[in-house]
Every structure is written in structure tokens, then in C-alpha cells.
Point group: C2
Chain length 199, copies 2
Amino acid sequence: MPADYALDKAAQDLLFRSARTANTFTDEPVNDAQVEDIYDLMKWAPTSFNQQPLRVVLVRSGQARDNLVSLMWDNNQEKTRNAPLVAVLAADTQFTEHMPTQFPVFPQAADVFFGEKQVREESASFNAALQVGYFILGVRAIGLAAGPMSGFDVDGVNREFFSDGRHRALAVVNIGKPGQDAWYDRLPRLGYDQVVSTV
Amino acid sequence: MPADYALDKAAQDLLFRSARTANTFTDEPVNDAQVEDIYDLMKWAPTSFNQQPLRVVLVRSGQARDNLVSLMWDNNQEKTRNAPLVAVLAADTQFTEHMPTQFPVFPQAADVFFGEKQVREESASFNAALQVGYFILGVRAIGLAAGPMSGFDVDGVNREFFSDGRHRALAVVNIGKPGQDAWYDRLPRLGYDQVVSTV
């Protein structure tokens, strides 16, 4: 275990300090092998009871892209139209189906802890959101830029891409190499003392 | 912008592949400067409208630690008692107070998009969960191990640590250098085809 050293400065910059939400992209395609590389990194980051509720729909066909664009708000439409790859990220509220294989140390967890619909759905939303964060950093880790967006018609996206009713769309993420004027001005961040306190 | 290269293998291992949830820790303390280092990395990762709803309470005093331990489930109690540092991570449902300084490009966003309580609370929960993910990877980035836990009395923790009623506890994270027998056996992960589909 590499527990004694920290990430070097270039890697810190790549993931956190210099990385930015991209609003434009080059035409260079993003292929499935790259998405596999992203997944093969981010899948290892932790979730409660190893539940892994995140599901990803890659929007590649022209018709699916058109439908998604029409469900995005305002200037997210143009970004979503032009990105090399767009991924819809959602929570599978029936993640418990996989617990017998994914949490074999206590396979009854599905019933014991997540038998109640509300508890199961809240857990799916929280843990899939964790995984959205891991996914964004995974995109950056393989040298691409992410353009995550929350401004879209959630019910419409659920109907269009998850007709089974068990999924909840959480974010739409544009992926590619950053293009011309890809960044807005950097926004500030809250100070340490505004976020962290001690008891 | 370092957009052309990917994170090297050692850094990928540190953050994702080799990193594990630690269940025991050495006695080596975790000081405030290290928590500042974690924050100074994770704060840059993106949230919707730059809302940054995550709040962190570091539990250092003996009494506060005892109170927190009593609110943890089962074997999370011992882990929480013995970790060098324990952080309670929560969502500030009134993050909108900071939007005039944090989202100056459209300061009306607080009212226009987040005027409704339910929308505001859902957005706080989603974005704070993203930031919990960033925080866990930030802990790893500075060379420490994280032990995130969701098994605790959420209402009790809210009452004990957030008596103002505006915060929602999301996770409790033990932080330190991994100790003896720190890891359980690695659990499996869902396959790419179980998680990613294409339309």
C-alpha cells in the first residue's frame, strides 16, 4: 500500500487545482476503451456496503443525442450538442439486486438494511452521487476534461433513457479534449474556516 | 492545462486501485494542517452552480468523541473510538447564503433556482455527496487512509453536532495512517457491461 507518500504536484493539478469544467471540446472522439479506462479506475472508490448504484448511459446515436439536447437547459444545449461524448449518470434504485455478489460477507444486507423503499432510494442517490464525483475525477485521471451539468429536465431524461422506472438521472457529463475558450473565469471557493470546524 | 497526459500508474494506485477503506489506524496524529491540505485540494472539484454545500466537523475533544461513538452502529463504534481523527461530513441546506460571493456571475441563482425548500435540500444533498467523494480521494491524495462510514444514527448526529437544524449528516470518516490488519478482503466490483450502456 502506498500509504507514505502524497500525490505529486502535477497529479494534484491534473485532478484538482488546474482541472476545470470544460464548456467546449475539440472534435477528437472519445472511444469505448477510454470509458473503460475511466470505469476501471473509479469503480474501486468506496460506496456504502459496496452497493455501486451508479449507471452510465453513453449517448452516441444522432437521434439519442438530439433527444438529450432538447432536454437540457439553456446554454447546456449547445455544449451537449457539440461534445465528443455525452454520458448520462444515474442511480439504480434497485442496486440491491447485486448485493449477493457484491457484498457476499452479508448478503442479507439487501433486506435487513434496504428493505424500505425510501431508505433504499436515499442510499442509491447518495452513493451514486459519490460515484459521480469519482467518475468526474476518473475522466480527468485519463487526461480528458469533464463538463458535468445538472441543468436539465430530470423527469424527461428519466423517461427518455430509463423507461424501466428504477433509475434516477443525477448528472449529464460532456467528455473530451478541451477546445477553444473552454473555461469560464475561475469561481472562488469557500475558505477553510467557513467549511471546517472543530469540536 | 495538463490535458494531454493521464495520471501515472502509481498515482492511479494511490487514489483508486490500491487504496482501501481502513478499519484500523496507527497512533500517529492527524493535525489541522493536514486537513487544510485535504481541503485545499478537494475544494476545487466541481459542484452545481459552485454551491459547495459540504461542511466538516473535526471531532477532537474526548467528550465529543464519546458522544459520536455512542451514535455509531455496531463495529463502527470501535473504529470511531480508535481513529486518530474523525470527521463528520454534512450538507448545509442553506448553502445559498454564500451564492452572492461564490456564484457572482448570477447571484440571483439562490432565489431563481433554489427558492423552493425541497429543491434546495435535494441539491445540497447531491452536491455535498459529490464533495464527500472528493474529500475521500483528497485524504488519499495526501497519503492518508480514509475509513468512510454510513452506519450511524443520522438524526442523533444531526442533533449532537448540528443543533441549528440546517445541516444533514451524510458520512463519518475516520482518517489516519493504516494500522495492523487495516483491510478486509477486497470486495468485487460490477463489470463494465453491468454499469455502462450505449444508446
